[in-house]
């Protein structure tokens, strides 16, 4: 770990200039960009989304995707090197823009080559998406030679624009970028915003922004959204301290009142969400809530205790099946037909037993061995539930159907809107458990175990209890999710408990920010709610998902909202230096590492 040296070095030492960006790198990125743009075209993304307008009638989504790639690579090519201690800040200027344009130009030429190939050969035998329509879209109706030149020029312009982002003053950029993202949101989530405006009884907004309800964003709409959000972020960026800092600076009683007020406000908003949003969005939110519940459970196992569990879906299945057997009249073997509320304690017991069953064999294992064994357990659970052998108990591939709705006293929960509330309640409970356990004896034991098992054991942490308890707590939380899932869907089938679920939950906590409750929540929203709202992208959903995961891990490995500790681990000064040396180190081997670190 690097030492925390925040005190400024006495600036008698002359700062070495940070080298300007390299054209070689721009060329390399340009060639990668060409590959990326060709892939975007050849996988059918361009042709599929061409009819969809981002901003009616001037920006079609397909073409936008294509040149967005050039924009991104231009941005990357123009990124100045990180400034290290002992170095003057990087100078940005025309050189960056030239690099960006160069990268964009090369990328565009790649598409040009593809276009020529497509007109000369028939490639559809292998690459099914290289259709005449794609030629039409790419060439903009021009003859091939002119089209290649135009594509290259547009790409170069897009690359230069991407590079230009680095030149904009920070405050301006921090307002412009989020505003553009909001425009994208308004444009892509037309159904959601349409629903919201109708729910809020401000239908006139739809006419103002969109061509029709669920239609495309108009030019006027785009400008309105852009200006509004730009102004908002500009105003917020002008404050020199954030809301959080100001709340923390308040005297204690005032702060508590503020916090209670904020919590009450959030609760009221949450109370109205399902009523406003209608069944479709509520269903998505319920699904996200169930995933969030599991993610919070897995967060304890992986985030706190450091036990990489790839078969977490098994506990979810145990919860779902325990709930189904205890409540459904259709359960094949044993069917006490309890209400879900009465069944919950038994579900918890079943999950705890499952947790112990999984945890016992892995007590001696570590790392990858543990991961693969848990993965094995996840698969075993799914296959057993699916098998003919146990079909008399679990219904085999037919699953268990006819699970009754959740009833609490006189209240019956049947629609997705109704289910929002119990799911939310359980999420709150899980969040409370997560936070409460963090600084408890158990939580400290888990974290010690995560850092170093051998040392923790030597310090008197009982590894056996710690591992068992982590798995049991995680299993119980997942089983709540499972029971709610079964009761909400009304049936459980073995194929719902695929390994992909385990992986999705793991990805939620890592992308969101491991060990942090707000982070995990945001992760669930981004990874479950967004893909479900963007149904029109479902064909390419996993492609975007995969690219997002890689990009996220490269740029921000600690997740959206990390726990402080983890962010520190991942962003030490040493890593920045390594990255720097990787790019610029070869040229002057002699005095690479700056000596300015006191």
């Amino acid at each position: 770990m690097s030492q925390v040296v925040d005190a400024p070095v006495p600036v008698e030492v002359e700062l070495r200039p940070t080298p300007p960006i390299e054209m070689r790198r721009a060329v390399r990125l340009g060639l990668s960009g060409a590959a990326a743009m060709v892939l975007v075209a050849a996988t059918g993304i361009v042709a599929t989304f061409q009819p969809r307008m981002v901003i009616d009638p001037i920006v079609p989504l397909g073409t936008m995707f294509l040149y967005l790639v050039a924009f991104a690579f231009g941005w990357m090519a123009a990124q100045p090197p990180p400034t290290l201690e002992g170095f003057a800040p990087a100078v940005v200027g025309m050189r960056n823009v030239v690099a960006g344009a160069l990268a964009g130009l090369l990328a565009g030429l790649g598409v040009g080559v593809l276009l020529i190939l497509m007109t000369v050969f028939d490639l559809r035998g292998v690459f099914i998406e290289l259709s005449p329509e794609l030629v039409e879209i790419l060439s903009l109706g021009l003859p091939v030679g002119a089209a290649v030149a135009v594509i290259a020029l547009i790409s170069a312009a897009a690359g230069a624009l991407g590079a230009g982002v680095h030149l904009i003053p920070t405050r301006f950029r921090r307002s412009l970028m989020p505003a553009l993202i909001w425009v994208a949101f308004f444009s892509l989530l037309t159904d959601l915003f349409g629903q919201l405006f109708v729910g809020l009884k401000i239908d006139f907004m739809i006419d103002l922004l969109y061509t029709s309800r669920g239609g495309a964003l108009t030019v006027v709409g785009a400008v309105v959204v852009l200006v509004l959000f730009f102004a908002l972020y500009w105003y917020l960026g002008g404050r020199d301290n954030t809301l959080r800092e100001r709340v923390q600076a308040m005297p204690k009683d005032k702060r508590v009142r503020w916090q209670i007020g904020a919590a009450a406000l959030i609760l009221v908003v949450l109370y109205f969400i399902p009523k406003l949003m209608g069944p479709f969005v509520s269903q998505i939110l319920v699904t996200a809530g169930i995933y969030l519940l599991m993610a919070l459970g897995l967060n304890i196992v992986v985030g706190y205790a450091g036990l990489l569990d790839l078969g977490y879906v098994a506990f979810f299945a145990v919860g779902a099946y325990a709930g189904a057997i205890l409540t459904s009249p259709q359960s094949p073997a044993l069917s006490p037909e309890l209400t879900l509320v009465a069944a919950i304690p038994f579900v918890m017991i079943a999950a705890a037993i499952a947790g112990i069953v999984v945890a016992t064999p892995v007590i001696r294992m570590r790392g990858d061995y543990l991961a693969i064994v848990t993965l094995g357990f996840g698969e075993i659970a799914r296959i057993l539930l699916n098998s003919e052998w146990l079909a008399p108990y679990f219904g085999g591939a037919q699953g268990i159907t006819n699970i009754p709705d959740l009833q609490v006293g006189p209240l019956t929960f049947s629609t997705p809107q109704d289910y929002f509330y119990p799911v939310f309640l359980f999420v709150l409970l899980a969040a409370y458990i997560t936070l409460a356990v963090q600084n408890s004896r158990w939580g400290r034991a888990w974290m010690a175990m995560r850092e170093d098992e051998s040392v923790a054991e030597a310090m008197g942490v009982n590894i056996v209890t710690a591992k068992l308890s982590a798995f049991v707590v995680g299993a119980v939380l997942a089983s709540f999710g499972g029971a709610l899932f079964g009761s909400q869907i009304g049936s459980v089938f073995p194929h719902s408990f695929d390994i992909v679920v385990s992986i999705t939950i793991l990805v939620i906590i890592i992308v969101g920010g491991m060990g942090s409750v707000p982070g995990v929540t945001l992760g669930a929203l981004v990874l479950i709610v967004l893909p479900n709202l963007l149904r029109e992208f479902s064909e390419f959903q996993f492609l975007f998902y995969g690219v997002l995961l890689i990009a996220m891990m490269l740029k921000r490995p600690e997740g959206f909202i990390p726990s402080k500790r983890r962010a520190q681990e991942l962003h030490s000064e040493e890593l920045a230096q390594d990255a720097w040396l990787e790019i610029y180190g070869e040229k002057d081997q002699v005095e690479t590492v700056p000596e300015g670190r006191a």
């Binding site: 996988t43 990858d368 993965l375 094995g376 075993i380 996993f542 990255a579």
Partner: protein
């Protein structure tokens, strides 16, 4: 099956395998219309193998460059996630490029039919696969144990920092590991086409997980172990159900083959928490 040196779960390895198999499919169906296919099947088979090896190797190296190299030194979970990301990306890129339909390999006439060996009926194609797999294992073993590059791979696997101090270029060695792993996966992909003649963009996922399972079963960072793990996992899977479960009158026991395989894995790891051939090395490092 070169998981050992990498020391993390590379979900994308199955996809490397799938891409190789896809390439093998296209080359094979291209060749099957020419006369070479019938007149000289061995040569054409070699061409197919070569094509799939080259494809898989380049894909593996590209993945390494984009998704793993920048993360050297990051905590283990991070490359795990990028490998999941890479896996999704490749799966759906392939789906987009060549479509979601299931592809059927063209047949190779001389490889059809069976012959008997000591009372067992064996498909000819299976013989080819077994021979090829043994040959590749032998080659890999010799490569890793006898050549200079193999030696540096083992050194990096044991301790990357010390290896770097000893003058080994860690990055280049790891690229080579990926290349070799990719080539192996490519061969496996082409062989897969011989035995199971159907293939789609999702075919790589389960073999990838199985491959990792066998590597763990044998003991991470140990090539002989990985081979042993692979073979024993295969045996557990194919023999286990009929041998163990049939006796208990369990219906449709073949459904449970994966259960047997994974239970065997759990049992083995309970008694040998570092795999069948896991060395003290693995224990020390934890």
């Amino acid at each position: 099956m070169v998981y050992g040196v990498l020391r993390f779960i590379n979900f994308a390895h199955g996809e490397v395998f799938m891409v190789g198999a896809m390439m093998a499919f296209y080359v094979a169906s291209g060749l099957s219309t020419t006369s070479l296919w019938t007149s000289n099947p061995i040569v054409s088979l070699l061409i197919v193998l070569l094509a799939s090896m080259i494809t898989s190797t380049s894909v593996a190296v590209i993945i390494e460059r984009i998704a793993y190299r920048p993360l050297r030194g990051a905590p283990r979970l991070i490359p795990l996630i990028t490998s999941i990301g890479a896996s999704f990306t490749i799966q759906y890129l392939v789906r987009g490029l060549v479509g979601p339909s299931t592809k059927a390999f063209p047949r190779i006439e001389p490889l059809r039919g069976t012959f008997e060996f000591g009372g067992f009926v064996i498909l000819r194609s299976q013989v080819v696969v077994i021979v090829a797999a043994l040959a590749m294992m032998l080659l890999l073993y010799l490569f890793v144990e006898k050549t200079r590059t193999g030696k540096s791979m083992r050194a990096v696997s044991e301790d990357a920092e010390t290896a770097a101090l000893m003058g080994i270029d860690v990055d280049r060695t790891i690229v080579k590991v990926f290349a070799v792993g990719g080539a192996m996966a490519g061969v496996a992909g082409a062989l897969w086409g011989l035995v199971f003649p159907s293939l789609n963009f999702f075919s790589g996922f389960l073999p990838g997980i199985k491959a990792f399972t066998s590597a763990v079963l044998g003991g991470i960072g140990n090539i002989v172990g990985a081979m042993l793990g692979g073979v024993s996992l295969g045996i557990f899977e194919s023999v286990g159900p009929s041998l163990v479960l049939a006796g208990y009158e369990i219906p449709a026991f073949s459904q449970l083959k994966d259960v047997v395989a994974y239970s065997a894995l759990v049992l083995v790891l309970i008694f040998r928490p570092t795999g069948i051939l896991g060395e003290r090395l693995a224990q020390e490092r934890g």
